[in-house]
């Protein structure tokens, strides 16, 4: 053994593990050097409502929150949260399988079972963990996961954490999916993973055909309905319900951090053995459960979403109006028709995307700037998500802001 301590070692033998981030650090610095506001460090100083906040001292319309149904300030939801804080305290300090299951955790799982009309519901601390946990646990060594290439990071990470063979196919391509399913060795377990709404472009999946093909080939099906809960489908259960195939879905993954208006994730299922997940799913077991106030707000919100027909209708009206207006102004959008409450405005490049994002913020509008690797095909997007609480007047104001900013930056 040598007797040199690490600090005595010559400098050239030390490797800075952070050097792998150098290209990204440079890209970020180059962008900031152009003088634009950093699009990834915005602070909401005060939140006034589901659709407005104070950012940099200015009242700003929020058009990038995924707060589709505007439940964050619902008086019943807030009252339930306050009551739970008083009755159960600030946190559980424990795993669901130890001291972390309170009455509220059971109550929110009951609300989910009722909402989806399914036998089992399991709540995770985030939507990310729901995908991570379920996917990595149910598909094991020798099994095959067949998934859409545009799947959310949490799905990919769930695949990476598990031991199954991972086989992606081209986005929404039924034939590409079928070919891969048919090539899987006989006897291997198969899991097909799809999303109802793909959040980057706001497009929906042809679930009816894809699930039929998956079932014909003996696969179990998991559908992530994070971006459809509450407003797509006759009961707001999502795209699978809308296309009449929810009964064919083995596992629905969802989140509380979008339409429900708080934080948390879940899986609902009719699988008769589903409850064993609570003992074998590590991202469920080895983390603290959601705070009592969070599950109380979620349960109240979910039950209100069962009867939110008017809000749903207004959300769709907003989505259609803005989609039509932006198309009319000459912006290039992610979908030809509005398919969800997400409208993705395609930017020519990251630099002009960041300039446009900043120009909109100056106008008093917040949208998401999305860039690779989160986006498909290396695109830079200004992603807008509408809320049922946006008024028709706000949508008109938003359109005006896009027109002025788009002309100033030279995009339209």
């Amino acid at each position: 053994m040598n007797d040199m301590t690490p600090t005595d070692m010559p400098a050239e033998t030390k490797t800075d593990l952070f050097s792998r981030f150098d290209p990204l650090i440079k890209q970020r610095q180059d962008l900031l050097d152009t003088g634009v506001t950093d699009p990834f460090s915005l602070v909401m100083e005060k939140v006034l409502s589901p659709t407005t906040a104070i950012c940099s001292g200015r009242e700003t319309i929020l058009l990038g929150t995924y707060n589709y149904m505007g439940m964050t300030f619902d008086p019943d939801v807030i009252a339930a949260g306050k009551q739970a804080l008083d009755d159960f305290g600030a946190g559980t300090t424990g795993s669901r399988v130890l001291n972390g299951t309170y009455a509220g955790h059971r109550a929110v799982e009951d609300a989910l079972k009722e909402f989806y009309g399914m036998d089992h519901a399991m709540v995770f601390s985030t939507g990310y963990q729901a995908n991570l946990g379920i996917i990595s646990t149910i598909a094991g060594k020798g099994d095959y996961i067949v998934l859409d290439i545009d799947s959310h990071a949490s799905i990919w990470d769930g695949c990476k954490m598990g031991d199954a063979e991972v086989v992606p196919f081209k986005h929404n391509d039924i034939e590409a999916m079928e070919k891969r399913l048919k090539r899987i060795p006989e006897g291997a377990g198969k899991l097909v993973i799809l999303e109802g709404v793909y959040s980057m472009l706001g497009d929906i999946a042809p679930l009816k055909e894809m699930i039929r093909v998956a079932k014909e080939n003996g696969a179990m099906v998991l559908v992530d309905e994070a971006h459809s809960m509450g407003f797509i489908g006759p009961n707001g259960r999502g795209v699978a319900e809308d296309q009449g195939v929810l009964d064919q879905v083995d596992f629905v993954i969802g989140t509380f951090s979008k339409s429900v208006g708080t934080v948390g994730g879940f899986c609902v299922s009719n699988h008769p053995k589903f409850e064993i997940m609570r003992l074998v799913c590590r991202p469920y077991v080895f983390t603290a459960s959601l705070p009592p106030s969070v599950v109380a707000t979620a349960a109240t919100s979910i039950r209100k979403l069962m009867h939110a027909g008017n809000k749903r209708a207004h959300l769709w009206e907003n989505s259609r109006t803005l989609h039509k207006a932006l198309t009319g102004l000459g912006f290039k959008l992610g979908t030809a028709e509005p398919q969800s409450a997400i409208i993705a405005v395609i930017m020519p490049d990251l630099e002009r995307g960041a300039m446009m994002w900043e120009a909109l913020l100056r106008e008093g509008l917040y949208v998401n700037l999305a860039r690779p690797p989160a986006t498909p095909a290396g695109m830079t997007l200004l992603r807008c998500s509408l809320c049922a609480e946006h008024t028709a007047e706000q949508v008109e104001i938003i359109t005006g802001m896009f027109e002025r900013a788009g002309k100033a930056i030279g995009i339209i």
Binding site: Y144, I149, C159, E165, V166, V167, P168, F169, K170, A176, K179, R180, R183, I184, P373, A377, G378
Partner: protein, 79 residues
């Protein structure tokens, strides 16, 4: 199909993807020499899968760094 025949067919499949007409040998690295982005990799893998009616899972792709390793893997996967 033996390794030589497999190599010949892969050479045909790769041509349209090798847009900069880089000279390819068995030691050519996909990430280092060809500098393909992730979309090109996906399309190329799909083309190889369709040509040979096989699956190359992400797990297997992670082990394939060079052109020679791809030929080996496809030869093996055809069984």
């Amino acid at each position: 199909m033996d390794r030589a025949a497999t190599a010949a067919r892969i050479a045909e499949v790769i041509t349209p993807f090798n847009k900069n007409a880089i000279g390819i040998s068995e030691a050519t690295s996909f990430s280092g020499d060809l500098e393909w982005d992730s979309l090109t990799v996906m399309d190329f893998v799909a083309a190889i899968e369709d040509e040979f009616d096989i699956i190359i899972s992400m797990n297997q792709q992670a082990e394939i760094e060079t052109y020679g390793q791809l030929i080996d893997a496809v030869t093996t996967l055809q069984g």
